[in-house]
């Protein structure tokens, strides 16, 4: 690694960062416009074509608002909390392979900011740290609704963190690696893991919705109960950071689901492997973005369609159903793989990538 490599990586990082900010803006717009479309109303339509610039206008408004700290707040923690929320959200995205790496001359350009060989662990770390933003925001605000939101948040995230980890384990067992690019490559030759691992795939996505506090799991900021939950007392640019973090998390969850279960940047077999297309980097990026986009749409679709759960339903669902089912799946998958490796089972679906 000389300085050119570092430069390449920095450029990739900047591009990804900018792309995420852009996607967030689009996502917020679509959340409003798309929801309006599904609910047969108009939605934002004044700023720019189709109201596309509405989010930009909102961002400008939030950025120019007064930055304040409530009297009853714990000043330092109150200030740190939004950062703690935003930082892990971005860091988690660093391990997502957006497309196959390619060469310019003899320089390798990865379409991934950091290809850690313990990528999955990194992802779990970041999603578990992300909870601090909300908890500390809730506590430091010095007000009761935020506090209740924070308590709900910590319980919810810890519960669904378990589900998420359990849903990842079958993938790791099957692929034989903790590296995200390795997992994508393991899927490139055969089926996507969503085929044999449909249950963990759903579980992962659902727990992702719960981790990002999106409806129907948005008890943390249930408007009718808690005003805005942990971020009730926040305004201006700090509020925007929470907002940004939430949408970045949505993108992260969609991108990771794509990576782990939907074959990442691999196209469907007909288009990809056989035609030899997948070597073209932008073609891979196209498939990645398409799949991620579909999942983002599902996020919003779910939000518009489903009513909010009750808190006890949330916990029962997480602990009694999701964890139980996923533990069973982990056992079953280990068993199947062991049998396949012993030759007792045909290597149907996909052989373990070891």
């Amino acid at each position: 690694m000389d300085w050119v490599d570092y430069l390449i990586r920095s450029v990739v990082a900047v591009v990804v960062f900018a792309a995420i900010l852009g996607t967030c803006t689009l996502l917020v717009w679509f959340e409003r416009r798309g929801a309006a479309w599904m609910q047969v109303r108009v939605g934002p339509n004044k700023a720019g074509p189709f109201g596309l610039l509405q989010t930009v206008a909102d961002a400008v408004k939030l950025l120019t608002k007064e930055v304040f700290v409530p009297d009853s707040a714990d000043p330092l923690v109150y200030r740190i909390a939004p950062l703690l929320s935003l930082l892990p959200a971005f860091l988690a995205l660093t391990i997502v392979p957006f497309g196959p790496g390619f060469h310019i001359g003899d320089r390798y350009v990865p379409m991934q900011i950091a290809d850690l060989n313990i990528g999955i662990l990194w992802l779990l770390c970041m999603s578990s740290i992300a909870v601090y933003g909300y908890i500390l925001a809730g506590w430091s605000s010095g007000s009761k609704y935020p506090l209740l939101g924070a308590v709900r948040q910590s319980a919810q995230v810890i519960s669904y963190e378990l589900v998420m980890s359990l849903a990842i384990i079958p993938v790791v067992i099957w692929a034989g690696t903790l590296s995200t690019s390795g997992i994508v490559e393991a899927q490139s030759r055969y089926h996507w893991y969503v085929v044999p691992l449909i249950v963990p795939a759903i579980a992962f996505f659902v727990s992702g919705i719960a981790e990002t506090n999106r409806p129907p799991f948005d008890l943390v900021e249930a408007e009718s109960e808690l005003v805005a939950g942990a971020i009730t007392e926040y305004g201006g640019v700090r509020f925007m950071m929470f907002f940004l973090a939430e949408y970045t998390n949505i993108i992260t969850i969609s991108a990771i689901t794509t990576t782990l279960f939907l074959g990442g940047w691999n196209g469907p077999i007909l288009f990809g492997t056989i035609a030899g297309w997948s070597v073209v980097p932008l073609w891979g990026l196209f498939w990645f973005l398409l799949k991620t986009g579909v999942l983002l749409f599902v996020f919003i679709w779910v939000r518009v369609s489903l009513p909010r759960l009750r808190y006890d339903q949330l916990m029962t669902f997480g602990w009694k159903i999701m964890i139980g089912v996923n533990v069973a799946v982990v056992l079953a998958v280990s068993f199947v793989i062991a049998l396949m490796e012993q030759g007792a089972l045909p290597m149907f679906w996909a052989p373990p990538g070891r």
Partner: protein, 499 residues
Amino acid sequence: MLIADAIAAPPSDWWAIAPQLVLGGTAVVIILMICVKRVDPGWNALVAAVGTVASGVFAWEQWRQVTTDANPRLAYSGMIAVDGFSAFLVLVVCVAAFLGVLLADQYFKREGIDRGEYYALLLFSACGMQFMAAANNLVMVFVALELLSICLYVLSAWNRDDSRSQEAGAKYLLLGAYSSAILLFGIALLYGGTGTTNLARMAEIFSENVTREPGLVLLGMVFVIVGLGFKIAAVPFHMWTPDVYQGAPTPVVGFMASGAKIAGFAGLFRVLETGLAAFEFDWQPLLVGLAIVTMLGGSILAIAQRDVKRMLAYSSIAHAGFILTGLASGTAAGVRGALFYLVAYVFMIAGAFGVVALLARRGERYTSLDDYRDMFRREPVLATVLAFFLFAMAGIPGTSGFVAKFAVFTGVADAHQWVLLTVGTVASVISAYFYLRLVVYMYMRPEVDEGEAQPAALPRVRWAPATVVALVLTVFFTIQLGILPQGLLDMAGKATLLF
């Protein structure tokens, strides 16, 4: 590459962990029973009792194998040792767990807190004790210690609506966690000094004399002794004992006092005799000092107690001192005596706490010395049984307590440690005072002083079959070991031969 090729697993030595497997398995079965259908916890107790007996059978088979075929060995990459010492103590743990199960049912029904999970936790704890008895690796020592302690923390707080039990649980948890941390420090230092946690390997390293860091090893040794000293309640690490023993449900105390001590001594002995044998001249004075203050401290402080459970707690501290004396003597005879003492102690303490549990009545109201006045008239049988156990603990000839003390002191005399011997004798005499005082209260003190109103008579204590079995067993063995100790002494002698 196939997993099967990649992983050359060490051969599974099922015999080596059979007792532990049976106990852990039984605990899981009990949990599953509860999951399927909540039946009367008596059934859980029955399963638990069967499990302990089965585990004991396996332990006995292990014992037979290692003594007759002379086949002591290390198993699971040196994690555990299967030798006379481990098989012997595993067997003793089975006995303690069996008594703990038998004494529990009636008590918890009376208190209205009979939940089947009790037996599962008790068995898990016993499983941890057995792992401790066999552990040959410091990591294993720590994991086993955690397994047994965490269960005991919960069991101490089992009567969760009683603030005394809550207090006991919380105190035990906090101080226990603290002592675990100290032990872990010690383990880390020993690892830092030797580069291994395997005790047998550690001994090899010392014998090759390649260790660079005797300072780290010595420091680690001290921390390990302190950490395990907490578990065996040696003075000055005994502070938690009276409070926990007083507050925790009495059958739990019976099990805790016997089982945790067995495990603590097993760990201490294995670490010092196997891993740190080369440092004998360093740890022996420490143990001598500990033994002296423990014997004296336990005996003297017990005199001041007006609560019988508390008094028995201090008495158990004193017993720990006597057992430590055997280890501290550094002779085979002393260690043999200590092992014999452990067995005798298990029967005595389980029996004594069993009787106390019955006499305390519902809610454990009657545990003060004054409540025991004239107990002989009210509960002649129980009073006599308790008096018998007290005599045994005091070391009256004809009971196991006497033989145990005699065996330990023989070892001390062999080592010419006259100070230890003198202190031990003095402590025995002192402890006899408070044991006999309780007997005096039960037999010779009127229930109320003259001029006071006679309290309403309580109904007679009822006996559940399981309790009767447990008390008969404890009395029988306390007598038997007092009159015909040779069999067990021989066993204990064989058990001193480590891997």
